[in-house]
Each structure stands twice: as structure tokens, then as C-alpha cells.
Subunit: 230 residues, 4 copies
């Protein structure tokens, strides 16, 4: 499977959410560090900044994702997030259906198709094994298993619910072996990443584990080194 | 009443919505033209581009607005639009409660307060006279009267529903004389702007009337010249 | 001001929400007790049961309210709550914009108008003084001040935020003296009701304070006796 | 597969939506006719009335469905539709994710599970083949294929999109052979029902085709006779 030039696996995808710590120039600062860590470890690190920071972040060599896309076509839609506009920033894809920004089922189908037609990667979040299987039927590029009760908990999904992760990997691959599986929720250390990859995933989604870390470089290096060594 | 340095009245506020014609570099092109027209006519023209274009557009000398703000504080809110992040782009304010992106009543109160605390202007849309009065009680900086049935119709609110416009101006000023009143929906010609100002508004919201015009410069000049002469 | 035959003030309006304790026959049981208490104290007690219980509850002599109405006209709207259908159950009105079921601003205007045209009472909830003023401009029959942070808290709004209650009463009456003002959130004792009426309201909204009480009759008698004596 | 006593296949499930023609006593009238037609033809006819009519309709011998369920547990949820309360009316199940009342993906999973634990049938609507496959992974009792563009069109899905219907039947059965497949959208005549059953479905969802028919009995007889003969 090949995406835009810059995506490799394992992938560490850092979701900046609406955190105060990573607005504007701060997002650029974190991305610069991520770029250095990616260069030094050879591990692919992606960044999902806030919408208004997409274009700035794209000036770096690492892949950029939108945090969401709205189920619309171009037109009279004030205040919506249009796939074409995300594409125009240079972003390579988008996270969809995050538990903090859920989508109606048929909207996910529409957006996955629209992203594909624009050459963009879809990373659809799933809150459970069954939801992961459902999502797999919509033919996204990646599925990210994220049990919402572990998000921001500091308890890694790859350690707290290993059977959900490995079961989802297996079930998704059975439905569509082309789909790349990530996992997220509570990821904050290299050993969490190690566990995730051992369970068959191709990488992790991480947010507060990096954004709220006292030392971004150290935190990213910890994850990326583990990813490189697993 | 004084806002950030660049706002003057009458104001022509151009909402780029999610139109295909004004994504990315095209939004910059339209803004450049708007800047020239603003310079040559002395009329203030504001631009509300898509989120990912806010920062680019802010490089011009004319005021930039977000098309929406979400009712959140900084934090774990994937895919939301945070007031602080809009502020960091240099934007001077935001349109709220557009009929294509409606907000719950108490969310409008929260966002108006948050924008004010950040030194940003709130432009709250109202679909009717009563809604305009309701909005006025929430103490926004501006209220834009926009009957949704006229949006994109080519039939200007200032000509089709003059009594709604003048009635709203009067009712809003009675509640809070500090509030600036705009009107929108169906605005596409200089005479629509003339009528709007005659009815007591301080300017217009316009979208397809400019974005879909075959000649942006001509269309903007028409509106701005009328605004200057009224 | 006169509503359907059964409404008098002070009014105690009991919102059964989606509580397990008051489904179906249990809602009837509570209503029977409320009817007895209303008869013995002469105080008007209204009940807002779940949608599917509206018709059963209407067999009692006390006024029944829907907990919500959707902003629709009759037609192809699967799973929505139509004002005409609520009216057909015999209900006298509806609670709108409760903090657990918020409405977009322009939807409130539409529903208030539709209820009036059907002879139904609108009780619009407001989370703050400013929101109460905004709601008053939409010309509902009643406004219920309900600061969301006190709902279910056991701390009565009439004691914790007396200035919000009295300020709202005053501000609402200034906008439209015809509007009846209630208050809610945290109401559970007769002294809470007493305080509410002293602050100028015409009654209270109460939910867990009654539904979760170990003895419904005792709890209702406490509120109603206080209301009668104030 | 066995459901509550009254469900047999082929099933004709009549969705009364929020139509003016079928409020309250009119819903009872239509249900009485449906009961007669079910008796005379031996075909199972279900009715999905508005919430406030669920209990009345349940007095008839034919199965009753809710048009929607909200993703909540019992508690402080004003204006929501609780599965337990639907169950208490005697209803046998609920339609979910109708294109006029869409649900977020993970909400569908939650509601399907809750309905099952209460012994209620879940009929989940799907707008396309892929969505039907996704829904099948959530393990509902029935999936109803309803391309939204054909709803209310008078053009039957079973004739306009036979390949979507037969493809969905096949794909759903491959995922979970226990799931019963219905189809809907544009169904109004016996020949539409015949086509649907020929394509492998176990029945139809119908709304305006019955509700708006000049003669309910004739219209229902036409559908049921075809179903019996196919």
C-alpha cells in the first residue's frame, strides 16, 4: 500500500486537539521537533494540528492531517470543513469520527470516498471492536482503535485492553486486509508503543501524552525509539 | 465604538463560505482585490475565509473574520474551532450563528463573552426580527439580519424585506444602542447596499453575490462605491 | 393571563426526565399523588412525563407538559416530536430548551409560535440572566431560569443564586410583562420554593428533588404547602 | 430466529413518521385496518407510530415499533427517548438510523445492545451497500436498505436499485446470516413488494405509500396480498 510520499509505518500520529499548548507558532515548534525526531530515528511522525495551522505545519517535511472533515460538497456551507480546502493546504489526510467529534454513519462513508477521490488518507477512529469492524466495511485507509474511556487517561489501550486491539486488528484484516490499523487512547510511553506494535498495529495515535509532556523532544524520542526497535 | 484598528463603517463583510471558487490561493486573490477596492473607495471590506485560510488572508491590510467558533475552552476537543486559535491567526472577529451553522442559544452567549475577552468582534446572525432582539440581549458587537429564505436568492433582504431590516435596527438599538447592525441575504448590487444603509444598517454581509460574480473587482467596486456614496 | 383551564400560579412543574423511577405506570402513580396534593393544598402541580406517557398522564385532572418539541412541521420526519401530536394527547404545553435538550436560537422562535397557534403553553428554559432576556424577546408564555451547574445538585437556585433569579424576573418583565417566570435547578424543599416565590417567580421546575425522593407524597406536600403559604 | 410472538416474515413495516394524517386516533384507525389486513392475508404488518401513540397502538394485536431510540441510560435526560420507556409501552422494537434521524456510528452499537438486553428488536436503516455492511457488523436483528434519494419518491428501491438490494442482502448475510434484511424507499404497490422479496429481502419499510394513499385498506391489501403470493 502506498500513500503520499511521506507516510511510512510504524506511524506515530500526534493529535494536537484544541490544546492551548499547541496553537499557532507552538504547533510549528512541536512539528519542528517531531521532524528532527523523525529524521534521527527514521520513524514516521504525523501531526494533526488545528485547522488554521494546517498550512503552516505543512511547510515541514512530515505528513500533516486534519482533525476532521465535514460531510459536504463545495458550496454554501458557512463554517464547515471542506475536504478540498484541507487538500489545498498540502495535508495528506484526515482523522475522522474521533470520539470527541463523532460522525453519523453514512457521513463517514461519504467523507472516506471524497478523501480518496482527492488522494487524501482517511484515518477513521473506532470506539470498540464492533465499531472497528463496521468502519472497515466503509473502506477507509486506516482505522484507529480508540476506546473513549481511556482517552487522556494515561492508561494505554495497548496495555489495558490488549484483546480489543489484537481482536480489532484481526477482524479488520479479515474484512479488508488493505486497511492499516492504528491504536490510541492513553498512549504516553515507548513501552505503550511497543505493546501496540506487538499486538499487530502499524502505529499509534497520541495526544495529551505528547502535548502535555514537560519535554516534547524527550517524549517523542521515547515513542519513536520504541517504534524503531520493535 | 472602536474595534481593532481596521474596522470602519459602512462595512462590507464578504463570507467565502465553502465555495470552491475561493479556496486557498483563490481566497488570497479575492482578498487582494478587496484590499485594492477598499483603498480606492475608502470603504471597509472584511473577508471571512475558510478556517485554513485565515492566516494567509490576514497578511493583507483588511480585517479577517472566522466563519464560526465552537463553544469550547482550550483542551481535548478534536476537530473543533477554538477562539484562541482564531485569534492567533490575526483575525479580528467571527461570524456566529449563520443560518448554515446555527448555534444553541446558550452557546452564543458563551462564545460572545469569550470573543470579547480575547479582544475579538462577534457578528451574530439573526434570521428574523425577534431573533435579532434575542441576540441583542446577549451583547454581541454586531448583529447581522439574514432571513434564511433570501440567502443565495439574488433577492436582496434590503429590498424584499425592508421592514424587517429597519424594524430590527430600531429594536436592537432600543435594547443596546452600542450594537452595530448589518444585514445580509441576497445582496449583490450597489443598490442593495444603498438600500441597506438607508434602512439604518452599518453595512452588509455578502457571499455568492461576490464569490460567484464573473468579475470580482467590478462586483466589489459596485458595492463599495454605493456604500461610499450613501 | 389565562391559559387552559387548569393552570394557576404558583405552579410546581415536575419534570420526570428519563428517570427509571417514573416510567409508564410509575408516572401514573406519581401523577395520582400530585393530583391529591394539588387538591388538598390548592396549589397547581404540572407533570412533564416522557413522550410515550403523555396520554396516560392526561387522564388526571392536573396539567401535563411535553419535555421537548422538535422544530418541524407535520410531514416526513421519522423519530421527531411534533407539536400537533403533543397537542392531541391533551397536554397543555411543553418545556423547551432545557439544558439537557438545547435548541438552536431560531428553532425556539419557531416552536414558541407553533405552540401558541395550537393553544399550547411554552415554558422556555434559560441558563443565565442574559439568556433569559434573549428568550423573553421570543415571546414565550413562561421562562424558567435554570443555571445548569445547579441541576440535580440539591443546591437550590433560589438560595444559591438569588440575584440571578430576581434579576431575571425584573429583566424579563421589563421586556415583556406578560411572561410568567419560573425557576429551577436544585429545588427539593419547601423552603426552596418559598425563596423562589419571594424572589418574584410564579413557581418552580423540579425533577430529581421529587422523583428521587423516598416518599413522593411527603416531598410534594412539602413543596406545595410552602407554595400555598408564601 | 424467533422474536416476540407476533413477528413473521415477510414483514410490512409501516412508518407513520410525523405525518398529520396519522396522529393519535388516526394512527389507531390505520392500525385497526392493518390488523384486519394482516388477519385476512396472514401477512405480518408492523406499525411505527409517533412516540406518544406507542401505547395506544399496542392495544392491537400487531407488532409496534418506535421510530427511534436515543443513546442514553435512564437518568437526567430531559426530552430523550429511552429504550426502557419504549419497552414499557409494549412495543416490540425500534427503527434506528433512519435517514431522517441519523445516529452516530457508536451510538448505533450502544442502542442495538441495549434493545437486545431488553428483548427488543433493532431495525437499523442503511443508506447504501457499504453502510449496510457496516451496520451488519453491529449485530442488529434487522437491516433496512433505504437509499435516501428514493424516500417519498414513489420510485421503489426494489425496482430502481435492484442491485443495491440484492447486493446488500448477500453482503449482510455473509457477515451475519442471522440478520433479517428489509428494504424501503419509494414502496407503494404490491409489485414493489414482490420485487423486494424476489431480491432476497424478508419484507419492506413503507411510509407515504400507505399514509398518503386515498384508501388505506386498499393500499395495505395490495402490499400484503403481493407479499403473501410471492
Amino acid at each position: 500500500m502506498t500513500f503520499k510520499k511521506s507516510i511510512k509505518f510504524p506511524l506515530i500520529l500526534v493529535n494536537l486537539k484544541s490544546y492551548y499548548e499547541t496553537i499557532g507558532s507552538k504547533a510549528e515548534e512541536l512539528t519542528k521537533i517531531a521532524e528532527e525526531v523523525a529524521d534521527s530515528t527514521g520513524v514516521c511522525i504525523g501531526i494533526a494540528p488545528q485547522y488554521m495551522d494546517l498550512r503552516q505545519i505543512d511547510r515541514f517535511r512530515i505528513p500533516v492531517f486534519s482533525q476532521h472533515i465535514d460531510p459536504i460538497l463545495p458550496g454554501a456551507h458557512t463554517g464547515h470543513v471542506l475536504a478540498e480546502s484541507v487538500s489545498a493546504t498540502g495535508a495528506v489526510g484526515a482523522i475522522l469520527n474521533h470520539s470527541e467529534r463523532r460522525l453519523e454513519l453514512s457521513s463517514i462513508e461519504m467523507i472516506v470516498e471524497r478523501l480518496r477521490s482527492l488522494g487524501l488518507i482517511s484515518v477513521v477512529c473506532a470506539s470498540s471492536l464492533r465499531v472497528a469492524m463496521a468502519v472497515a466495511s466503509l473502506d477507509p485507509d486506516m482505522v484507529a482503535i480508540e476506546p473513549p474511556e481511556l482517552i487522556g487517561s494515561g492508561i494505554a489501550v495497548s496495555k489495558a485492553k490488549p484483546e480489543v486491539v489484537s481482536g480489532s486488528v484481526e477482524a479488520i484484516k479479515r474484512i479488508n486486509s488493505r486497511i492499516v490499523v492504528l491504536c490510541g487512547a492513553g498512549i504516553s510511553s515507548g513501552s505503550d508503543v511497543h505493546a501496540a506494535i506487538q499486538l499487530g498495529t502499524s502505529g499509534v495515535l497520541v495526544a495529551s501524552g505528547i502535548v502535555k509532556a514537560p519535554d516534547w523532544k524527550k517524549a517523542l524520542l521515547d515513542l519513536a525509539t520504541s517504534a524503531a526497535e520493535t
